[in-house]
Symmetry: C2
Subunit: 320 residues, 2 copies
């Protein structure tokens, strides 16, 4: 591997653009693959405001779908949302070289396997981002707080690629937790996300304080968290029971905020329902574990998706 | 009791106006207590289109809150929605005579007790309406289909008041099922309403077909129905297990439609959350019966109500 590797960000939204900026700052050659912001970024780069300072940069190359670099990148960082209509295997295919290390900075559970299966000889790094960042307008990203990455080789271990990449991120000012068990870390993150995120959507975009302070709200969150703990344990990723208390207490300490799925919902953007919730319920079913609270939320979200897909009826007769 | 009794409809919305028309047709003296439609109905009566013919009528008296009739009615028919902010005991107080029979045509479970407690020496009739009727505009009601009433004395039995009133409704063209066990009948109606109605709200107003045909939808409805069956049995109102199959099959046979709570939700009107769902969950808790599916929906609805009550946060920071 070169001392300053070539990095390609596929899906350079808020998260991808931000971590690209960090690697650029660390001296990497950073290119991006863009869709809607292609023209803007090609013309004037990415502008990023951040507590870390001005992180604005001009990617070394700006690509769009269909274009291919002359040389495959050392690291291909995939930051697209994990959505049913998005074929991530196909999305990265044109850019994958023989030795390209595929890096996922994405939410959810069970999201690595299809990529690992499709590219069995490429190293695969799985990352969890703890960050508050959003796209203000085309080519303009606002990094508000945090930024830590939890990183490990998939399905487990820490390889040289992890070490190289984590050092680069650290040089750019980002905290990195290297982990031997990144799948277990995904379960720990989902302990919070799987209850809070989807529940906030069926509760019409509710913030953390509303969720916890509504009568029965904390108890419901705890029941959903317990279901996540049970499923994780069956999958070989036991979590300490007190982690539930810690998650509740930690959330209560923070000011009220809306999670990323609530914001996606309120903005009419698609939500990562399967990655964050559906896969957990499917794994529960595989193990024969009852998850009635999670399942109720999942099915309600599926009904909403059916309606959004245009399967609404025209009649409006109500029977009392 | 007079041969043609005096009837007062309190809360003459779509349902109250319709059943008032039926009793008017049967020869009763029918007066109404109105709020928003007072001026319109006072000036030009109630216009009702119906498969039963033109049911339009001029109430004998049109009252509004604060006014009191010179003579108390024989039957006071209460048709307001059962909502947390609505004090039904207070609402009927000015109109209740010593011998006035109080008649409830209202949805939900556990809705009689506070009125029975407040007026212990007045006869109390509890009714369930199976009807499709709506208010098109001020003073204009559209009766679309059905109309059957299930009727009994509260808490149980069939008294002379039931017999008199049921005959009058039948004369007006309405089917009546007199029942010795009206509370059990409420549970039978809630077997459908308690799952379908609140679930349709968190599923953004989903119709019956969407609810049943979404993957996992029928299974979720069946799980919620099973919880209602379990709670009803603990309350001394056992239902046959096959009633669940019958409800599902019956719903599938009908064209897709939105239930009344879904319509209320979509129109921004308040929903009868506690009467239809909250009371069932409270009774379950009283008996120590787990109702995780019902409870998840209930708490999500409470969170939505918190947001609607203006407890939204201003910040919108999302943490991924």
């Amino acid at each position: 591997m070169k001392n300053k590797p070539d990095v390609l960000i596929v899906g350079a939204g808020a998260i991808g653009s931000f971590y690209g900026a960090i690697l650029k700052k660390a001296g990497c050659r950073v290119s991006t693959v863009l869709r809607s912001d292609y023209e803007m970024v090609k013309a004037q780069g990415v502008r990023i405001t951040s507590p870390l300072g001005d992180l604005s940069y001009q990617p070394d190359q700006v690509y769009r779908d269909g274009e291919v670099p002359s040389e495959a990148p050392d690291f291909l960082i995939l930051c697209v949302k994990v959505l049913p209509g998005v074929d991530r295997v196909k999305l990265v295919a044109p850019w994958m070289g023989e030795k390209t290390c595929l890096v996922l900075i994405e939410n959810g559970l069970g999201i690595e396997k299809e990529l690992a299966d499709a590219y069995p000889s490429n190293p695969l790094i799985s990352c969890l981002a703890f960050i508050a960042v959003s796209r203000a307008e085309s080519g303009v990203i606002e990094h508000k707080a945090h930024g830590k990455l939890v990183m490990g080789q998939y399905p487990e271990g820490i390889n040289d690629n992890c070490r190289v990449l984590s050092k680069l991120f650290q040089q750019g000012g980002i905290n990195i937790n290297l982990t031997e068990k990144v799948v277990g870390e995904r379960w720990r993150k989902c302990l919070w996300n799987t209850p809070f995120n989807p529940l906030s959507v069926i509760a019409d975009g509710a913030d953390t304080r509303t969720i916890l302070e509504t009568p029965g709200g904390e108890a419901l969150i705890r029941a959903m968290m317990q279901e996540v703990v049970d499923v994780a344990a069956a999958e070989g990723h036991p979590m300490k029971q007190e982690l539930i208390d810690k998650n509740i207490a930690g959330t209560r300490k923070m000011p009220a905020y809306r999670n990323s799925m609530a914001l996606d919902y309120l903005s009419g953007r698609p939500i990562e329902r399967e990655a964050v919730l559906g896969n957990v319920v499917a794994i529960a079913e595989h193990h024969g574990i009852a998850v009635p609270h999670l399942n109720t939320v999942l099915v309600a979200l599926k009904m909403r998706a059916e309606l959004e897909a245009g399967h609404r009826i025209n009649g409006d007769e109500g029977i009392s």
